[in-house]
Protein backbone atom coordinates (compact mmCIF):
# COMPACT_ATOMS: atom_id res chain seq x y z
CA UNK A 1 0.00 0.00 0.00
CA UNK A 2 2.31 2.78 -1.20
CA UNK A 3 1.90 6.05 0.67
CA UNK A 4 1.65 8.87 -1.85
CA UNK A 5 1.02 11.83 0.44
CA UNK A 6 1.52 11.90 4.22
CA UNK A 7 0.04 14.33 6.77
CA UNK A 8 2.88 16.87 6.56
CA UNK A 9 2.84 16.87 2.79
CA UNK A 10 -0.93 17.23 2.72
CA UNK A 11 -0.95 20.27 4.96
CA UNK A 12 1.80 21.92 2.87
CA UNK A 13 -0.12 21.10 -0.31
CA UNK A 14 -3.32 22.66 1.02
CA UNK A 15 -1.41 25.77 2.12
CA UNK A 16 0.12 26.05 -1.34
CA UNK A 17 -3.27 25.69 -3.07
CA UNK A 18 -4.80 28.30 -0.73
CA UNK A 19 -2.09 30.77 -1.71
CA UNK A 20 -2.61 30.01 -5.39
CA UNK A 21 -6.35 30.63 -5.00
CA UNK A 22 -5.81 34.03 -3.40
CA UNK A 23 -3.19 34.96 -5.97
CA UNK A 24 -5.10 33.88 -9.04
CA UNK A 25 -8.36 35.52 -7.94
CA UNK A 26 -6.59 38.73 -6.92
CA UNK A 27 -8.32 38.73 -3.58
CA UNK A 28 -11.19 36.85 -2.02
CA UNK A 29 -14.13 39.26 -2.08
CA UNK A 30 -16.34 37.24 -4.42
CA UNK A 31 -15.01 33.82 -3.42
CA UNK A 32 -17.05 30.93 -1.97
CA UNK A 33 -16.07 27.29 -1.47
CA UNK A 34 -18.30 24.34 -2.29
CA UNK A 35 -17.08 20.91 -1.19
CA UNK A 36 -18.35 17.80 -2.94
CA UNK A 37 -19.48 15.09 -0.56
CA UNK A 38 -17.87 13.24 1.08
CA UNK A 39 -14.22 14.19 1.27
CA UNK A 40 -14.42 17.38 -0.71
CA UNK A 41 -16.20 18.92 2.26
CA UNK A 42 -13.42 18.81 4.88
CA UNK A 43 -10.90 19.79 2.18
CA UNK A 44 -13.04 22.82 1.29
CA UNK A 45 -13.27 23.79 4.96
CA UNK A 46 -9.50 23.58 5.39
CA UNK A 47 -8.79 25.55 2.24
CA UNK A 48 -11.30 28.20 3.33
CA UNK A 49 -9.72 28.43 6.77
CA UNK A 50 -6.27 28.97 5.26
CA UNK A 51 -7.56 31.48 2.71
CA UNK A 52 -9.28 33.36 5.54
CA UNK A 53 -6.00 33.44 7.47
CA UNK A 54 -4.03 34.71 4.50
CA UNK A 55 -6.56 37.33 3.42
CA UNK A 56 -8.26 38.15 6.71
CA UNK A 57 -11.60 37.30 5.19
CA UNK A 58 -14.61 35.16 5.97
CA UNK A 59 -15.22 33.09 2.86
CA UNK A 60 -18.38 30.92 3.03
CA UNK A 61 -18.33 27.14 2.57
CA UNK A 62 -21.16 25.05 1.13
CA UNK A 63 -21.75 21.31 0.84
CA UNK A 64 -22.85 19.68 -2.40
CA UNK A 65 -24.23 16.15 -2.81
CA UNK A 66 -24.23 15.28 -6.50
CA UNK A 67 -26.10 11.96 -6.29
CA UNK A 68 -29.34 13.20 -7.87
CA UNK A 69 -27.31 14.53 -10.82
CA UNK A 70 -25.26 11.38 -11.51
CA UNK A 71 -25.27 10.24 -15.11
CA UNK A 72 -25.34 6.58 -14.10
CA UNK A 73 -28.55 6.79 -12.03
CA UNK A 74 -31.15 4.34 -13.39
CA UNK A 75 -28.60 2.73 -15.68
CA UNK A 76 -28.06 -0.31 -13.49
CA UNK A 77 -30.69 -3.01 -13.62
CA UNK A 78 -30.70 -4.22 -10.04
CA UNK A 79 -29.55 -3.04 -6.66
CA UNK A 80 -30.21 -0.22 -4.30
CA UNK A 81 -30.13 3.42 -5.29
CA UNK A 82 -27.06 5.42 -4.25
CA UNK A 83 -27.57 7.23 -0.95
CA UNK A 84 -28.65 10.84 -1.25
CA UNK A 85 -27.36 13.13 1.45
CA UNK A 86 -27.99 16.72 2.35
CA UNK A 87 -26.83 19.56 0.13
CA UNK A 88 -26.26 22.74 2.11
CA UNK A 89 -25.27 25.92 0.27
CA UNK A 90 -26.39 28.63 2.70
CA UNK A 91 -25.47 31.57 0.47
CA UNK A 92 -26.37 32.84 -3.01
CA UNK A 93 -23.88 31.69 -5.62
CA UNK A 94 -24.98 34.43 -8.04
CA UNK A 95 -22.02 36.50 -9.25
CA UNK A 96 -19.58 34.71 -6.96
CA UNK A 97 -16.40 32.87 -7.88
CA UNK A 98 -17.09 29.32 -6.78
CA UNK A 99 -14.21 27.13 -5.74
CA UNK A 100 -15.43 23.57 -6.24
CA UNK A 101 -13.39 21.14 -4.12
CA UNK A 102 -13.07 17.34 -4.38
CA UNK A 103 -10.55 14.80 -3.22
CA UNK A 104 -9.78 12.91 -6.44
CA UNK A 105 -10.27 13.89 -10.07
CA UNK A 106 -10.70 10.75 -12.17
CA UNK A 107 -13.22 10.35 -15.02
CA UNK A 108 -14.59 13.88 -14.56
CA UNK A 109 -18.16 12.61 -14.29
CA UNK A 110 -18.59 13.71 -10.68
CA UNK A 111 -17.48 17.21 -11.64
CA UNK A 112 -19.88 17.25 -14.59
CA UNK A 113 -22.70 16.40 -12.15
CA UNK A 114 -21.51 19.06 -9.73
CA UNK A 115 -21.48 21.72 -12.46
CA UNK A 116 -25.05 20.84 -13.41
CA UNK A 117 -26.12 21.00 -9.77
CA UNK A 118 -24.40 24.35 -9.19
CA UNK A 119 -26.06 25.92 -12.23
CA UNK A 120 -29.44 25.05 -10.64
CA UNK A 121 -28.46 27.17 -7.66
CA UNK A 122 -27.76 30.32 -9.64
CA UNK A 123 -25.34 31.95 -12.03
CA UNK A 124 -21.87 32.20 -10.61
CA UNK A 125 -19.33 34.56 -12.16
CA UNK A 126 -16.89 31.68 -12.47
CA UNK A 127 -16.39 28.13 -11.25
CA UNK A 128 -12.91 26.82 -10.51
CA UNK A 129 -11.90 23.34 -9.46
CA UNK A 130 -9.44 22.30 -6.77
CA UNK A 131 -8.55 18.63 -6.13
CA UNK A 132 -6.07 16.88 -3.89
CA UNK A 133 -5.17 14.24 -6.50
CA UNK A 134 -5.54 14.17 -10.27
CA UNK A 135 -5.20 10.53 -11.27
CA UNK A 136 -5.93 10.90 -14.98
CA UNK A 137 -8.27 8.76 -17.16
CA UNK A 138 -10.64 11.60 -17.98
CA UNK A 139 -13.81 10.66 -19.86
CA UNK A 140 -15.04 14.24 -20.18
CA UNK A 141 -13.31 17.50 -21.15
CA UNK A 142 -12.75 18.64 -17.57
CA UNK A 143 -9.58 20.02 -16.02
CA UNK A 144 -8.69 21.15 -12.52
CA UNK A 145 -7.43 24.68 -11.80
CA UNK A 146 -5.58 23.67 -8.64
CA UNK A 147 -4.06 20.21 -8.16
CA UNK A 148 -2.42 18.86 -5.02
CA UNK A 149 -0.62 16.11 -6.85
CA UNK A 150 -0.73 14.65 -10.35
CA UNK A 151 -0.66 10.91 -9.84
CA UNK A 152 -0.32 8.62 -12.85
CA UNK A 153 -2.39 5.48 -12.19
CA UNK A 154 -3.78 2.48 -13.99
CA UNK A 155 -7.56 2.19 -14.06
CA UNK A 156 -7.35 -0.88 -11.82
CA UNK A 157 -5.66 0.99 -9.02
CA UNK A 158 -7.58 2.67 -6.21
CA UNK A 159 -6.62 6.07 -4.86
CA UNK A 160 -7.58 6.44 -1.21
CA UNK A 161 -7.72 9.90 0.27
CA UNK A 162 -8.08 9.68 4.04
CA UNK A 163 -8.75 12.78 6.11
CA UNK A 164 -8.53 13.48 9.81
CA UNK A 165 -12.21 14.54 9.91
CA UNK A 166 -13.60 11.36 8.40
CA UNK A 167 -10.87 8.75 8.77
CA UNK A 168 -8.71 9.91 11.68
CA UNK A 169 -5.59 10.32 9.56
CA UNK A 170 -4.36 12.56 6.75
CA UNK A 171 -2.90 10.49 3.91
CA UNK A 172 -3.24 9.45 0.30
CA UNK A 173 -2.44 5.87 -0.68
CA UNK A 174 -2.45 3.98 -3.95
CA UNK A 175 -3.78 0.42 -3.82
CA UNK A 176 -4.08 -2.41 -6.29
CA UNK A 177 -7.76 -2.82 -7.16
CA UNK A 178 -9.51 -6.16 -6.98
CA UNK A 179 -11.58 -5.48 -10.07
CA UNK A 180 -11.74 -2.77 -12.64
Amino acid sequence: MPLVIDAVRMSRTLARIAHEIVERNRGVEELAFVGIRTRGVPLARRLAATVNEIAGADVPVGILDITLYRDDLMRHTVGPQPLVRLTDIPFSIDDRRILLVDDVLFTGRTIRSALDALIDFGRPKAIQLAVMVDRGHRELPIKADYVGKNLPTSRREIVNVRLQESDGIDEVTLEEGSHD
Binding site: G79, D120, V159
Partner: protein
Protein backbone atom coordinates in the same frame (compact mmCIF):
# COMPACT_ATOMS: atom_id res chain seq x y z
CA UNK B 1 -44.47 -9.13 -3.27
CA UNK B 2 -41.19 -8.41 -1.60
CA UNK B 3 -38.31 -9.52 -3.71
CA UNK B 4 -34.85 -9.48 -2.30
CA UNK B 5 -32.65 -7.20 -4.32
CA UNK B 6 -29.30 -8.62 -5.19
CA UNK B 7 -26.58 -6.31 -4.02
CA UNK B 8 -25.20 -4.77 -7.14
CA UNK B 9 -21.53 -3.91 -7.22
CA UNK B 10 -21.53 -0.21 -7.87
CA UNK B 11 -17.93 0.77 -7.25
CA UNK B 12 -17.45 4.45 -6.73
CA UNK B 13 -14.55 5.35 -8.96
CA UNK B 14 -12.88 7.49 -6.34
CA UNK B 15 -13.51 5.79 -3.04
CA UNK B 16 -12.97 2.19 -2.02
CA UNK B 17 -16.04 -0.01 -2.00
CA UNK B 18 -17.53 0.01 1.50
CA UNK B 19 -17.43 -3.34 3.22
CA UNK B 20 -20.97 -3.05 4.58
CA UNK B 21 -23.71 -3.68 2.01
CA UNK B 22 -25.28 -0.49 0.78
CA UNK B 23 -28.63 0.17 2.38
CA UNK B 24 -31.63 0.11 0.08
CA UNK B 25 -35.25 -0.91 -0.11
CA UNK B 26 -35.69 -4.66 -0.43
CA UNK B 27 -39.02 -4.57 -2.20
CA UNK B 28 -39.95 -3.37 -5.67
CA UNK B 29 -43.12 -1.73 -4.36
CA UNK B 30 -44.33 0.31 -1.42
CA UNK B 31 -47.55 -1.40 -0.43
CA UNK B 32 -47.54 -0.79 3.30
CA UNK B 33 -45.42 0.00 6.32
CA UNK B 34 -46.00 -3.51 7.64
CA UNK B 35 -43.56 -4.95 5.07
CA UNK B 36 -40.79 -2.43 5.82
CA UNK B 37 -37.97 -2.90 8.31
CA UNK B 38 -36.92 -0.18 10.74
CA UNK B 39 -33.74 0.31 8.67
CA UNK B 40 -35.73 0.83 5.48
CA UNK B 41 -37.96 3.38 7.23
CA UNK B 42 -34.93 5.30 8.51
CA UNK B 43 -33.39 5.22 5.01
CA UNK B 44 -36.56 6.79 3.58
CA UNK B 45 -36.63 9.46 6.31
CA UNK B 46 -32.93 10.28 5.84
CA UNK B 47 -33.35 10.51 2.08
CA UNK B 48 -36.36 12.78 2.62
CA UNK B 49 -34.12 15.22 4.52
CA UNK B 50 -32.02 15.66 1.38
CA UNK B 51 -35.17 15.94 -0.76
CA UNK B 52 -36.55 18.63 1.54
CA UNK B 53 -33.54 20.80 0.68
CA UNK B 54 -34.27 20.42 -3.05
CA UNK B 55 -37.71 21.94 -2.38
CA UNK B 56 -36.09 25.00 -0.80
CA UNK B 57 -34.05 25.92 -3.89
CA UNK B 58 -34.96 28.49 -6.52
CA UNK B 59 -34.90 25.74 -9.13
CA UNK B 60 -36.85 23.02 -7.34
CA UNK B 61 -35.97 20.26 -9.72
CA UNK B 62 -33.33 17.56 -10.03
CA UNK B 63 -32.82 15.24 -13.00
CA UNK B 64 -32.90 11.95 -11.03
CA UNK B 65 -36.03 10.41 -12.66
CA UNK B 66 -35.60 11.94 -16.11
CA UNK B 67 -37.30 9.86 -18.79
CA UNK B 68 -39.36 7.82 -16.29
CA UNK B 69 -43.12 7.76 -16.47
CA UNK B 70 -45.26 7.77 -13.36
CA UNK B 71 -49.02 7.29 -13.46
CA UNK B 72 -51.14 8.55 -10.57
CA UNK B 73 -54.23 6.41 -10.54
CA UNK B 74 -56.81 7.66 -8.09
CA UNK B 75 -60.05 5.73 -7.67
CA UNK B 76 -60.97 7.87 -4.66
CA UNK B 77 -61.13 11.64 -4.45
CA UNK B 78 -57.92 13.17 -3.15
CA UNK B 79 -56.50 16.63 -3.47
CA UNK B 80 -53.66 16.68 -1.00
CA UNK B 81 -52.10 13.29 -1.64
CA UNK B 82 -52.45 13.41 -5.41
CA UNK B 83 -51.06 16.94 -5.66
CA UNK B 84 -48.24 16.02 -3.31
CA UNK B 85 -47.25 13.00 -5.42
CA UNK B 86 -47.47 15.07 -8.61
CA UNK B 87 -45.20 17.77 -7.23
CA UNK B 88 -42.77 15.15 -5.94
CA UNK B 89 -42.65 13.45 -9.35
CA UNK B 90 -42.13 16.73 -11.18
CA UNK B 91 -39.34 17.78 -8.82
CA UNK B 92 -37.57 14.55 -9.73
CA UNK B 93 -38.12 15.28 -13.48
CA UNK B 94 -40.38 12.26 -14.08
CA UNK B 95 -43.11 12.49 -16.71
CA UNK B 96 -46.39 12.28 -14.86
CA UNK B 97 -49.95 11.57 -15.70
CA UNK B 98 -52.86 11.71 -13.29
CA UNK B 99 -56.02 9.75 -13.80
CA UNK B 100 -59.01 10.24 -11.55
CA UNK B 101 -61.29 7.28 -12.03
CA UNK B 102 -64.85 7.59 -10.82
CA UNK B 103 -65.80 4.38 -9.11
CA UNK B 104 -68.34 2.74 -11.35
CA UNK B 105 -70.95 0.15 -10.55
CA UNK B 106 -68.83 -2.55 -12.17
CA UNK B 107 -67.32 -4.98 -9.67
CA UNK B 108 -64.35 -3.15 -8.31
CA UNK B 109 -61.92 -5.99 -8.82
CA UNK B 110 -62.72 -6.22 -12.52
CA UNK B 111 -62.51 -2.51 -13.08
CA UNK B 112 -59.18 -2.33 -11.34
CA UNK B 113 -57.60 -5.24 -13.19
CA UNK B 114 -58.82 -4.00 -16.57
CA UNK B 115 -57.64 -0.47 -15.92
CA UNK B 116 -54.29 -1.74 -14.70
CA UNK B 117 -53.74 -3.97 -17.73
CA UNK B 118 -54.54 -1.11 -20.06
CA UNK B 119 -52.15 1.18 -18.27
CA UNK B 120 -49.50 -1.51 -18.20
CA UNK B 121 -49.73 -1.77 -21.97
CA UNK B 122 -48.42 1.79 -22.12
CA UNK B 123 -45.47 0.71 -19.96
CA UNK B 124 -45.29 3.25 -17.15
CA UNK B 125 -42.37 2.79 -14.77
CA UNK B 126 -44.37 3.42 -11.63
CA UNK B 127 -48.02 3.56 -10.65
CA UNK B 128 -49.19 5.50 -7.62
CA UNK B 129 -52.63 4.21 -6.68
CA UNK B 130 -55.41 5.07 -4.31
CA UNK B 131 -58.38 2.75 -4.13
CA UNK B 132 -61.36 2.26 -1.85
CA UNK B 133 -60.69 -1.47 -1.48
CA UNK B 134 -58.17 -2.78 1.01
CA UNK B 135 -55.55 -4.86 -0.79
CA UNK B 136 -56.00 -3.10 -4.16
CA UNK B 137 -52.32 -2.13 -4.27
CA UNK B 138 -51.26 -5.72 -3.54
CA UNK B 139 -53.46 -6.94 -6.37
CA UNK B 140 -51.94 -4.42 -8.76
CA UNK B 141 -48.42 -5.38 -7.74
CA UNK B 142 -49.12 -8.97 -8.72
CA UNK B 143 -50.32 -8.16 -12.24
CA UNK B 144 -48.18 -5.17 -13.17
CA UNK B 145 -44.55 -4.95 -14.09
CA UNK B 146 -44.46 -1.32 -12.95
CA UNK B 147 -43.47 -0.37 -9.40
CA UNK B 148 -46.58 0.21 -7.29
CA UNK B 149 -46.84 2.85 -4.60
CA UNK B 150 -49.89 2.55 -2.38
CA UNK B 151 -51.42 6.00 -1.86
CA UNK B 152 -54.14 4.57 0.36
CA UNK B 153 -56.11 1.33 -0.02
CA UNK B 154 -59.47 1.17 1.74
CA UNK B 155 -59.04 0.79 5.47
CA UNK B 156 -55.71 -0.99 5.12
CA UNK B 157 -52.65 1.26 4.75
CA UNK B 158 -51.51 4.70 3.66
CA UNK B 159 -47.75 4.28 3.94
CA UNK B 160 -46.54 7.65 2.67
CA UNK B 161 -48.80 9.42 5.20
CA UNK B 162 -47.21 7.52 8.08
CA UNK B 163 -43.75 8.25 6.66
CA UNK B 164 -44.42 11.97 6.43
CA UNK B 165 -45.88 11.92 9.94
CA UNK B 166 -42.73 10.23 11.24
CA UNK B 167 -40.56 12.66 9.29
CA UNK B 168 -42.42 15.59 10.86
CA UNK B 169 -42.16 14.13 14.36
CA UNK B 170 -38.46 13.43 13.93
CA UNK B 171 -37.79 16.99 12.77
CA UNK B 172 -39.40 18.34 15.94
CA UNK B 173 -38.36 15.73 18.50
CA UNK B 174 -35.08 14.56 16.90
CA UNK B 175 -36.13 10.96 17.55
CA UNK B 176 -39.11 8.61 17.63
CA UNK B 177 -38.00 5.98 20.14
CA UNK B 178 -39.51 6.47 23.58
CA UNK B 179 -41.97 9.20 22.57
CA UNK B 180 -45.57 8.96 23.71
CA UNK B 181 -47.82 9.36 20.68
CA UNK B 182 -51.58 9.66 21.18
CA UNK B 183 -53.74 8.89 18.15
CA UNK B 184 -57.36 9.91 18.61
CA UNK B 185 -60.39 9.69 16.37
CA UNK B 186 -61.94 7.33 13.89
CA UNK B 187 -59.58 4.42 14.47
CA UNK B 188 -61.90 1.86 12.90
CA UNK B 189 -61.94 3.26 9.38
CA UNK B 190 -58.44 4.68 9.34
CA UNK B 191 -55.66 3.41 7.07
CA UNK B 192 -53.56 6.27 8.44
CA UNK B 193 -53.85 4.70 11.88
CA UNK B 194 -52.74 1.27 10.68
CA UNK B 195 -49.72 2.60 8.84
CA UNK B 196 -48.78 4.83 11.76
CA UNK B 197 -49.12 2.07 14.33
CA UNK B 198 -46.82 -0.17 12.31
CA UNK B 199 -44.27 2.58 11.75
CA UNK B 200 -44.21 4.03 15.26
CA UNK B 201 -44.00 0.54 16.73
CA UNK B 202 -41.05 -0.41 14.53
CA UNK B 203 -39.19 2.74 15.54
CA UNK B 204 -39.87 2.30 19.25
CA UNK B 205 -42.51 4.94 20.03
CA UNK B 206 -45.07 4.34 22.74
CA UNK B 207 -48.46 4.53 21.01
CA UNK B 208 -51.80 5.22 22.73
CA UNK B 209 -55.05 5.23 20.81
CA UNK B 210 -58.38 6.59 21.94
CA UNK B 211 -61.93 6.67 20.56
CA UNK B 212 -65.47 5.78 21.52
CA UNK B 213 -65.69 2.01 21.96
CA UNK B 214 -67.62 1.71 18.68
CA UNK B 215 -64.68 3.15 16.75
CA UNK B 216 -61.91 1.04 18.33
CA UNK B 217 -61.04 -1.88 16.03
CA UNK B 218 -61.30 -5.13 18.00
CA UNK B 219 -57.90 -6.63 18.78
CA UNK B 220 -55.97 -3.43 18.17
CA UNK B 221 -53.87 -4.10 21.29
CA UNK B 222 -52.25 -6.97 19.40
CA UNK B 223 -50.47 -4.32 17.30
CA UNK B 224 -48.69 -3.19 20.45
CA UNK B 225 -50.72 -0.10 21.30
CA UNK B 226 -52.59 0.91 24.44
CA UNK B 227 -56.26 1.52 23.68
CA UNK B 228 -58.53 3.57 25.90
CA UNK B 229 -61.93 5.20 25.69
CA UNK B 230 -60.72 7.92 28.07
CA UNK B 231 -59.13 10.46 25.77
CA UNK B 232 -57.51 12.30 28.71
CA UNK B 233 -55.44 9.20 29.54
CA UNK B 234 -54.14 9.05 25.99
CA UNK B 235 -53.22 12.73 25.90
CA UNK B 236 -51.62 12.86 29.37
CA UNK B 237 -47.90 13.64 28.99
CA UNK B 238 -47.98 12.88 25.26
CA UNK B 239 -45.18 14.24 23.07
CA UNK B 240 -47.35 14.02 19.98
CA UNK B 241 -51.14 14.28 19.67
CA UNK B 242 -52.39 13.03 16.33
CA UNK B 243 -56.06 13.59 15.52
CA UNK B 244 -57.83 11.48 12.90
CA UNK B 245 -60.72 12.60 10.80
CA UNK B 246 -64.20 11.34 11.51
CA UNK B 247 -64.87 9.63 8.19
CA UNK B 248 -68.56 10.12 7.69
CA UNK B 249 -68.37 8.70 4.17
CA UNK B 250 -67.14 5.35 5.43
CA UNK B 251 -69.58 5.09 8.29
CA UNK B 252 -72.43 2.77 7.59
CA UNK B 253 -74.53 2.80 10.72
CA UNK B 254 -74.37 4.84 13.86
CA UNK B 255 -71.16 4.93 15.82
CA UNK B 256 -71.93 7.85 18.14
CA UNK B 257 -75.01 9.97 18.87
CA UNK B 258 -73.95 13.25 17.24
CA UNK B 259 -70.94 15.16 15.97
CA UNK B 260 -71.48 17.69 18.73
CA UNK B 261 -71.36 15.00 21.38
CA UNK B 262 -68.25 13.53 19.76
CA UNK B 263 -66.54 16.91 19.96
CA UNK B 264 -67.55 17.32 23.59
CA UNK B 265 -66.11 13.94 24.57
CA UNK B 266 -63.18 13.46 22.16
CA UNK B 267 -62.47 16.73 20.35
CA UNK B 268 -59.01 18.24 20.87
CA UNK B 269 -59.53 21.49 22.76
CA UNK B 270 -56.98 23.77 24.41
CA UNK B 271 -57.98 22.33 27.77
CA UNK B 272 -57.33 18.74 26.68
CA UNK B 273 -54.10 19.68 24.94
CA UNK B 274 -52.88 21.19 28.22
CA UNK B 275 -52.67 17.64 29.59
CA UNK B 276 -49.94 16.80 27.09
CA UNK B 277 -46.31 17.76 27.52
CA UNK B 278 -45.76 21.52 27.20
CA UNK B 279 -43.72 20.99 24.01
CA UNK B 280 -46.22 18.56 22.48
CA UNK B 281 -47.02 18.89 18.78
CA UNK B 282 -50.50 18.51 17.27
CA UNK B 283 -50.90 16.64 14.00
CA UNK B 284 -53.73 15.84 11.61
CA UNK B 285 -53.48 14.02 8.28
CA UNK B 286 -56.27 16.16 6.80
CA UNK B 287 -58.79 17.03 5.67
CA UNK B 288 -59.85 18.42 9.04
CA UNK B 289 -63.38 18.63 10.38
CA UNK B 290 -63.01 21.75 12.50
CA UNK B 291 -65.24 21.59 15.52
CA UNK B 292 -65.60 17.79 15.23
CA UNK B 293 -62.27 16.15 16.02
CA UNK B 294 -60.28 19.33 16.59
CA UNK B 295 -61.06 22.86 17.76
CA UNK B 296 -60.11 25.62 15.35
CA UNK B 297 -57.91 27.43 17.86
CA UNK B 298 -55.88 24.24 18.37
CA UNK B 299 -55.63 23.48 14.65
CA UNK B 300 -54.28 26.99 14.06
CA UNK B 301 -52.43 27.21 17.37
CA UNK B 302 -48.72 27.25 18.16
CA UNK B 303 -48.49 23.49 18.77
CA UNK B 304 -50.00 22.64 15.38
CA UNK B 305 -47.66 21.23 12.72
CA UNK B 306 -50.51 20.34 10.38
CA UNK B 307 -49.34 22.46 7.44
CA UNK B 308 -45.76 21.33 7.94
CA UNK B 309 -47.03 17.78 7.48
CA UNK B 310 -48.34 18.80 4.08
CA UNK B 311 -45.07 20.33 2.93
CA UNK B 312 -43.05 17.42 4.33
CA UNK B 313 -45.27 15.08 2.32
CA UNK B 314 -43.61 16.20 -0.89
CA UNK B 315 -40.10 15.48 0.42
CA UNK B 316 -41.07 12.06 1.75
CA UNK B 317 -42.79 11.09 -1.52
CA UNK B 318 -39.72 12.22 -3.48
CA UNK B 319 -37.63 9.93 -1.27
CA UNK B 320 -39.95 6.96 -1.88
CA UNK B 321 -40.08 7.56 -5.64
CA UNK B 322 -36.30 7.90 -5.83
CA UNK B 323 -35.54 4.84 -3.71
CA UNK B 324 -38.03 2.62 -5.53
CA UNK B 325 -36.78 3.74 -8.93
CA UNK B 326 -33.52 1.84 -8.46
CA UNK B 327 -32.99 -0.84 -11.05
CA UNK B 328 -35.77 0.21 -13.38
CA UNK B 329 -35.22 -1.38 -16.73
Amino acid sequence: MIESATSAPRPEPQTPAPSAPQPGLRGRHLLGIEELSAEEIVLILDTAEAMKEVGSRTVKKVPALRGRTVVNLFFEPSTRTRTSFEIAEKRLSADTLSIAVATSSVTKGETLVDTALNLEAMSPDMIVMRHASSGAAHLLSRICHARIINAGDGMHEHPTQALLDAFTIRRHKKRLAGLKVAIIGDLLHSRVLRSNVHLLGKLGANVWVSAPRTLIPPGIERLGVTATTRVEDAIADADVVMMLRIQMERMQGHFFPSLREYFTLYGLTKERLALARPDAIVMHPGPMNRGVEIASDVADGPASVILEQVSNGVAVRMAVLYLLAGGLD
